[in-house]
Every structure is written in C-alpha cells, then in structure tokens.
Amino acid sequence: MQSNILICGVGGQGIVLTSKLIAAAAMAHDIPVMSAETIGMAQKGGSVFSFLRLGDDLYCPMFPERSADLIIGFEPAEAVRMLPYLKDGGKVVVNTHPIMPVTATLSGSDYTGSEMLDYLKRNAGDVLLVDGDKACEELGSPKVLNMVMLGAAVRNDVIPFSVDDIEDIMKKTVKPQFHELNSKALRY
C-alpha cells in the first residue's frame, strides 16, 4: 500500500512544516516515508511544492504525473499548476485565497483565484474548498494556514492519520507557545 501526497503553494506558507508533520506521523506508525521539496532560490516568493510518499517499496521521493492520491493546495493557481499529478479519483484540498505574484502587480494582471477554483472543480472529481483566509482571521494569525489545511485534509479522511496523531506530532515539533493555537487550527 502506497500513498502519494503533493503539497503545493507559495514560499512562506508553511508547506515544508506540513510535509514534515505528515512524515513524522508516518514514522510514528512505522510506515516508510520519503519526501522532496523546493529549496533555495525558488523559495523567495516562488512556487513551492513538497512530494510526500508513504508505504513500502519506494525508490524515489518524486512520483510521476497521474499518481497523487491527494493534492493539498495552499493557493488556487498552484493547485492548478500541479493538477496533472493527480491520479484519477484523487482528491484536492485547496485554499480559496489567491496570492498575487509581484509580476502580476507590475503588469496589472487581474488574477483573482476564482477561475482557478472553477477549473479545479471541472477537472478534478473530488475538491474540498477551504477558506483559509477566513480561518486565519478567526483564529487570529496568518501563520496557522498550514494547520488549517492539514486539519481539513485529515478530518476528511484523505490522510491515513487522525487529528490526534497529527496533534501529538505537532506538539513534539512546534514551540509550546504555539500548541494551543495550532490545535485549534487543526480542528477549525
């Protein structure tokens, strides 16, 4: 049994930590795990992704197109960019809030994100929309988007772990002063 997860978004959204938490949960369950992500120059406001694979007989952390069981998109356009990786019948959990690149600001592009969400709905069977912006506002911090997204994926049974599993790992990974807020975000 293997499961392939792709987490994508924009540098600074907490994608790498999300990937680390799922990996740590896999380790805690004695499931082999591999991951690969964008590091370095591309991180500065660029598209960021993390490939994550759980299960036996893995050779490499990357997987080909049409093989992701799940895409967690922290940004609508980034989810569209990575959609070719979704396998038939795979699920998409996506944040509805778009992030404008500097180039769009310069060129006056009118990217709003809704065209991306429509595209996702038309081209992926199973799309869960998460209003990450609203969640962060209600929780009082823009920094918990990753926990909101992860919590949504876990609670909808698209990740083979429970919210309690992820919460345990989060408490071992994140500084104590953030535990309460993160727990709330995971269950938002």
Binding site: G12, M34, A36, M41, K44, G45, Y59, R81, P84
Partner: protein, 604 residues
C-alpha cells in the same frame, strides 16, 4: 541501528560522523550546504567544523588534517570544485594518510547554479575515485564506504550526490552512537619525500596512480553497490544508469517486464569487468544519465575494446535529452521508446487558465533593493555598466530594478568591470559584490584594480551574512561554526589596506544620503568603494508595516513600478500594503511623490 527521517545532506553528515570524522570544512553552496551545517549542529565538540573563506581554503585545510591521519571531509557545490581545483589536482599526486572525502554536490537542471558541469569528469581528470549515491539511505551507507576506500588507498576520494539526493528526505536505517567508528589521528610525521611535491615525486606518483586505478576498476567491479539486476524475462536489451536516475528507472519499471539493469555507483575508476558482464548477450543498451554521458562513453569504449556488437544509446545518440534534469516522466518516456512500449498516458485535462508566474524576487524589506535603487537614481542618464555577482543580489537583475548587467562566477564582477572600463573609458563602471563573496573571492580583484589603475566603483552590499544559502557566518560576522565569537574583519579596513583611497559606508535605506554618496563617490577618478551596510531583512525583527494614507495616495503606482517590492500589492484596484510581508523598511515612503506612505519607523 534505528530509523530516522533525514534529508540526504543530513544523512551524509551522519554517515561521515559514524565513519569517525575528525574535521569538516567547506564553503556554502546549494545543494551542498546542509552537510556541514548538520555536522555543526550535532557536533559534541569532538569534530572541528569550519566554514572556510572559500573552497580552495577548505580543501587545503582538509588535506592538512588528513596529512596528520585525521578523517576529514570537505563540502562544496560543483562550481566550488573549480575554485578548489588547484589543490585538488596536486593533492591527487601527494595523497593522504587519514581518510579524506571531498563531497561535491552536482546540480542537474541547473536548479540553483551557473553550470551543469559533471563532477564525474573531475574525478577522471584528477584520477580520484568517485562515489555516486542514488538515495538518502545509500548516501548514508556510501559515505562510510568512501572513507574506508580513501584510507585504504591513501587517496582523497570524491563523493558526488546530486540535488535530488541532497535535498530528498527518507526514513532510513542509521547506526546507534555505540556503533560509530572512532579515529585518533597520529599527528603529522615529517617526511619531505612524501609531502613536498616535486617533478620527480609527481612522475613516480603518476605511475602508482595509474596502477592503483587499474586495480580499483577491478575492486569496484565487485563492489556491492555497482549492481547488475537480471532481466525479469528473456530480453536482449539493457539499461545502464546511476544516481537519482536509477530510482526513476526502477519506478518506471515497476510492474513491467524489466530488462537487465546496471547501476553504476563508482563512475571512476569505471567497473570495467562488471560492465562486460552486464553487456554479455545484449543487443542494445540505453544509458539514462544526468549531466554528461559518462557511462555512455565508458560503455562505448568497452564495446570497442572487447569487440562487442552491443549498440550503446543515450545522450550522444539523442535517445536521452542532453541538458536539464531527468524526471520520473522523462525517464518513463525514454524507456518506453527504447523498449517499444506504449508511451505513458498523459493527464487528460482541459487547458489550464493562464497561471501566474512566480519568479524569485528580492524579499520585502531587502536592503539590496534600496542599494540598487540608489545607484540607479544616482546614475540616471549617465553611461554606466553594472556588473553583478553571485548571491541574492543577482536578483537585482529583475524588472523593475534591472540593475545587473553581467554575472559570471564568484568574484568575477570586480574584474569584468575593469575589463569593460579599459575598453570603454567613458563608461562609469560599477561592480556589486556581497559581503560573503567579497571575502571568498573579490579581494584579489580589488588589489588588481588598485595596482592596474582601474577606474571603477566597487559597491559592497553588506548585509552581514551569507543570505542566499541560508545565513552562514563569514569573516565579517564575528562568529565561527565552532560557536566562537571572534574579531570581525572589517571590509572597510581591508579595502583601505589594499590601497582604495575612498571608502564610504552608508545605510542604503537612508535613500537621499545613499544617492548623494553614489553621485559624489562615483565622480572621483580611480578605484573607490561604497559599502551599503544594512542587515538581511530575514534576520531582523521588522518595523511595523507601512501604512498608505488613502487620501494622499493618487494611485500613481510609482512605488510598485520603481521598486517591485512583494510587500506592495494592488488590492481591489488600489495600491495596498501586504502586511504579512512588509518589514517597514521605509524605502517606499521615500520614493512616494505624495508622502502618502507612512508608519514605517526608520523612514526619514
């Protein structure tokens, strides 16, 4: 043994420590940096760890330690080996006493490098054994093998992972601490017939090296990581591969009738006898490699030498793309064509809407933005050329700043600008260099400029860190990787010391003063320097975000059009501050013609 989830580079560090590492030195460079950083982080004090001033210094330091019988590792990226190539080539003749592994990370793509050079060629060129791991687990195991072979054969060895191995993570089996080897260096034993390179010594060493490499080719033919995997079903085709491409190959062949596979883990000396065994009875072999066709050329040579009729295909025959990194998809497609299988199915999606492009940009609040803008403003309308260098500030080339006319390699800008100035004396020539790059390889350029009467302005972008590779300390920061607080080496004093008469230091975020300084200093004749000093925005606690006064703002968008700061966006058709990014550096408020941007504390 126990399991841990580790990054490839962390696994390399852990493997080296398990092999009894005594000293590690290096210079930061993606994708190699985390090897040394991990060692420093988990060091119990028994290992000497240093970021050297550049790769040449690091390699010489590692050699000195290995002369004493210490086990040393030197880390760098592939272009770093160019800098270290002088000691490398000679050290190959001298050899070592303790195990010495030179960890050079290659970067197919390239993802964050200037070149797609292949360190496997450097191995053949320097005649040094080379190890090429394919996964995180193998990197952990193989670095320990590398130390063993190095010590056994008294030679430095190259260890060459690529980006996807360095930066991949995996749950792997690692040794418990009580399983680690320990190594007590004997110390330096004087013997000038051994440690002093002379033509006679080199002649004799050359003979010994060739004999040893012939022997190693045989030894490596039996090395357990040079693997021949038998075909699943009788088939006269084979695939030869290496590194991360081996894993793509295995993924592509999952659930398929796989042909015979040859995984080459020691590209030099090439395991010739193993290759002959692999080639036996094969009509065609596809070589799936990244960077250069090293295996392909070796197999072609072996076919000639042994009169084999096997056809060798790969990059040279255009069966595999010549440049860029391989992917699961590209390897599956290449194998399908080679095997005569149906092409892998493509996703059947409707055409996606135009996706926003997200090129890397200078961070919000980055002081380099202010420095580039100050020079741009000061030189407006004057014939000038701006030579850039390697670091975050290469991103000053992006619109709207557009302030990097050239970029070549570490420290090159200082000399390139001199060359341009000699041919175009009416041009104001600028060289931009970061603080870490200054210490690594721009000081000789400054001396050259002073000595040879150049007319140029050297602009040092001093953010007091090595930002691009993740904030490593350097001689100007006053910290070392052993945690010592040491005297900072002053860039200003260095420049004065080598004869630069005019050296001015200014905070680029004080924009008017910065522009005035550039105008004044660049108008002088000869070599002069400006040090723009302001800390990296990522490392400081920012000020409160800027605030736009909507009554004063006339929506001219000058702030956006001149600065290109990710902290300023259009929201509902109006200029707005992205509070999650803005550091309150105050640059935009100094650019605004209407004084509509305020709130930032350090604005003038």
């Amino acid at each position: 043994m126990h399991k841990e989830f580790l990054m490839g580079n962390a696994a390399i560090a852990r493997g080296a420590i398990a092999a009894g590492l005594n000293l590690v030195s290096g210079y930061p460079g993606t994708p190699s940096t985390e090897v040394l950083e991990t060692t420093a982080k988990i060091n119990n004090g028994s290992i000497y760890v240093e970021w050297s001033v550049n790769e040449k210094a690091a390699l010489e330091l590692g050699a000195g330690a290995a002369y004493c019988g210490a086990r040393s590792m030197v880390t760098m990226k592939q272009v770093g080996l160019n800098v270290a190539s002088d000691p490398l080539m000679s050290l190959a003749y001298i050899g070592v006493k303790g195990g010495m592994v030179i960890m050079v990370a290659d970067d197919p793509g390239p993802i964050s490098s200037q070149t797609e050079q292949d360190t496997r060629h450097f191995a053949a060129f320097s005649k040094l054994p080379c190890f090429d791991p394919s996964s995180v687990q193998e990197a952990y195991d193989m670095i320990q093998d590398a130390f063993k072979y190095s010590e056994k054969y008294h030679t430095p060895v190259l260890f060459r992972p690529t980006t996807r191995v360095c930066h991949g993570y995996a749950s792997i089996e690692v040794k418990d601490e009580n399983e680690y080897e320990t190594n007590r260096p004997e110390g330096f034993v004087k013997d000038s017939s051994k440690w002093v390179i002379f033509p006679r010594l080199s002649y004799n060493a050359h003979i010994r090296i060739e004999e040893r490499n012939a022997e190693l080719s045989g030894v490596f033919s039996d090395y357990e990581r040079n693997v021949i995997i038998p075909e699943k079903k009788a088939c006269r085709k084979g695939i030869a591969t290496h590194g991360i491409s081996y894993t793509y190959t295995m993924e592509a062949l999952r659930d398929k009738e796989a042909p015979r596979i040859f995984k080459v883990s020691t590209p030099f000396p090439f395991p010739e006898q193993a290759a002959v065994k692999f080639l036996e009875g094969l009509d065609e072999v596809l070589c799936i490699e990244e960077l250069d066709p090293v295996i392909e050329r070796e197999l072609t040579y072996i076919c000639g030498k042994y009169h084999l009729a096997t056809k060798i295909l790969g990059k040279l025959t255009h069966n595999v793309k010549t440049a860029g990194e391989n992917t699961c998809a590209s390897v599956s497609a290449d194998i399908a064509v080679f095997m005569g299988w149906d092409a892998p199915e493509k996703p059947s999606l409707e055409e996606a809407p135009a996706l926003p492009v997200r090129p890397p940009v200078l961070c919000a609040g980055c002081p380099h933005r202010a420095s580039f803008f100050a020079v741009k403003e000061a030189m407006k309308g004057k014939k000038s050329v701006f030579c850039g260098d390697i670091g975050c500030y290469t991103l000053g080339n992006a619109m709207p700043l557009d302030m990097v006319d050239t970029c070549l390699c570490m420290g090159a800008g200082v000399n390139i600008t001199q060359g341009i100035g000699k041919i175009e004396p009416d041009t104001s020539c600028f060289a931009f260099v970061g603080d870490s790059t200054f210490f690594a390889s721009a000081i000789t350029g400054a001396v050259n400029a002073v000595y040879n009467q150049a007319d140029m302005t050297l602009v040092v972008l001093d953010n007091s860190t090595t930002a691009m590779t993740g904030h490593q300390p350097h001689p100007g920061t006053g910290r070392t990787m052993m945690g010592e607080i040491v005297e900072k080496i002053s860039i200003q004093e260095v420049l004065r010391g080598v004869g630069v008469k005019i050296v001015e230091t200014v905070n680029p975020l004080e924009l008017d003063k910065a522009i005035d300084t550039v105008k004044r200093v660049s108008a002088e004749k000869g070599v002069k320097a400006i040090i723009f000093k302001s800390p990296c925005a990522v490392l400081i606690k920012g000020n409160k975000p800027a605030v736009i006064d909507s009554e004063k703002c006339i929506q001219c968008k000058k702030c956006i059009k001149t600065l290109g700061c990710p902290g300023i966006v259009m929201r509902d058709g109006k200029v707005a501050i992205e509070n999650s990014l803005c550091t309150g550096c105050g640059l935009c408020s100094q650019v605004c013609p209407c004084n509509a941007i305020g709130g930032a504390e350090n604005a003038e």
